[in-house]
Symmetry: C2
Subunit: 313 residues, 2 copies
């Protein structure tokens, strides 16, 4: 079996940029993606805060980065392959998993770059799973246009949640924000914008209990955590923004993860295990943007290149 | 005097990206640049490893980022203004300096983002200053085309130096690399490429002593550090790659710097002094690329926004 210099797991902005830098460093590189390239960028429509790229569609941004990867003959990409586990043996990593048609695959490398990303957290509410795609959404930018002039409920209170509430208010008639505490956690400027927007209403000290409806969402049952009183709020949609879960299950037993299951690295993107680097949303990090994911991918590739040349593996 | 939310010092990739993120966060922002926007990007011709931007001129990349900044009405930019010192008084920072015509200026803000960059280190050789621009260069990509089919000497042994040697070899007839130790510090793959390139010759265990010539460089005197013997090497150009000096002199007394005068920050780009953030090449960091500078600018702006809203300054 061919032993690659580097296997990169995940083809979002972090993994794709790592591939550009690995390819340019003349490392033989395999990039494995569980679905299509792009990662969470695929959940948005437009990108206008990526420096150097003037307001463009998310698809276009990813297409350009993909072309940069594909122009490097050292990088092979495989899509729709999900990694299930990784073995370390004889100084090599063996990455194993299944492709979409259920067939097993296996690839070996001397170094690993984990860029497997994260996904929105689910609340586990009664009705949440049944109504996903039928009124329950985890991405305002993707789904807000479906709720034009309708009433929606949003669950969450951090910066992301409030950003999404402001976005939703451009489409929906009314956005009711349910938050379990007596004040939002979002930054002051976002809070001011929420308060000055007449379409947005806060339902504080409250938690969602159950999502109700026939074919699609019709209402949500909410409990006030101070009075324990339950009420039903009419709505056509429920948007849930309560954080992210990193895609790191396949690393259990191989790498130590923090209590939220994120990968810990140093500033060089090196994990505690020699030869394994991590970048992007699967890593504990302060600010989740496309440009920060890209930068981490570049650093991880540079560190992997240094590891390979200095350790002569 | 108007008090801005944020003053950003330096309009390279880090400072410009910080300006995009500050402007989008609705912070009143002043961006002060000592010469023209672009920073060290102006020292290169083409950029092809910036994700999302397919091979382009450095000028074009900076022009796009500038347009992104200028589209935000919250950001004012001032060029050709050099900062000389910063006072902290009454919870505000006062940034003072001189414009190109010698006039004093002064601006105040609640938070500061330092993105003042770095510049190539000089060796202090006899003849180095006199021949700068007349054969002595600190940027192969800028000046290599002037040395087509000529002989050049390169001083340095790290990754950057060796990268530049390989670049120079595309133009020059012969590239002689002078390095003070008995082996290069560059990574293995770069060393292999050096060794397999017949145009590149290593002069190890050696230091440059003096650059000689009439109107332009004609030769360089070199001393072997083991034998102390001096020899003269004919050459038309001398390229010097011995590291960078951060542009941080104006911060002395305000911020603690490391022994190489770089600014120390945490992962959120916060310095030890409340309200001051730093990003890009003026900061101690592992991998100096345009995309990593941009990412740090985004993080610094986000941290400044959080500082302003959480501290209610």
């Amino acid at each position: 079996m061919k032993i690659y210099d580097v296997i990169i797991i995940g083809a979002g902005p972090a993994g794709l940029t790592a591939a550009i830098y690995c390819g340019r460093a003349k490392l033989s590189t395999k990039l494995i993606e569980q679905s299509q390239p792009g990662g969470q960028v695929n959940l948005t429509e437009e990108v206008e805060n990526f420096p150097g790229v003037f307001k463009t569609s998310s698809k276009n941004l990813i297409d350009i980065i993909l072309k940069q990867v594909n122009d490097l003959d050292k990088v092979e990409m495989e899509e729709f392959k999900e990694v299930s586990d990784i073995k370390y043996d004889n100084n090599n990593f063996e990455v194993r998993g299944q492709s979409l048609d259920g067939k097993d695959f296996s690839s070996k490398s001397k170094a690993l770059i984990i860029a497997s990303g994260a996904q929105p957290k689910k609340l586990g509410l009664k009705g949440e799973e049944d109504f996903t795609g039928k009124g329950v959404s985890y991405c305002a930018v993707c789904d807000a246009p479906f709720f034009k002039d309708k009433d929606v409920v949003l669950i969450g209170g951090g910066d992301t949640a409030i950003d999404e509430a402001l976005y939703l208010a451009k489409f929906a008639r009314k956005v009711k924000v349910i938050h379990r505490r007596d004040a939002l956690r979002a930054s002051g400027i976002l809070q001011e914008r929420i308060k000055s927007n007449p379409q947005i209403e806060l339902i504080l000290d409250s938690v969602a209990v159950e999502i109700l409806g026939k074919k699609t969402v019709e209402k949500i049952r909410v409990r006030n955590v101070k009075t324990n009183k339950e009420t039903e709020v009419d709505c056509n949609g429920v948007f849930i923004f309560v954080g992210y879960s990193p895609n790191t299950k396949f690393l259990e037993g191989l790498l130590e993860l923090n209590e939220e299951k994120y990968i810990i690295t140093n500033e060089e993107m090196a994990t505690a295990k020699k030869g394994i680097f991590a970048c992007g949303d699967c890593r504990k990090r302060p600010f989740r943007q496309i440009v920060t994911a890209c930068a981490e991918g570049a650093i991880a590739a540079h560190s992997a290149e240094q590891y390979l040349s200095q350790n002569n593996v």
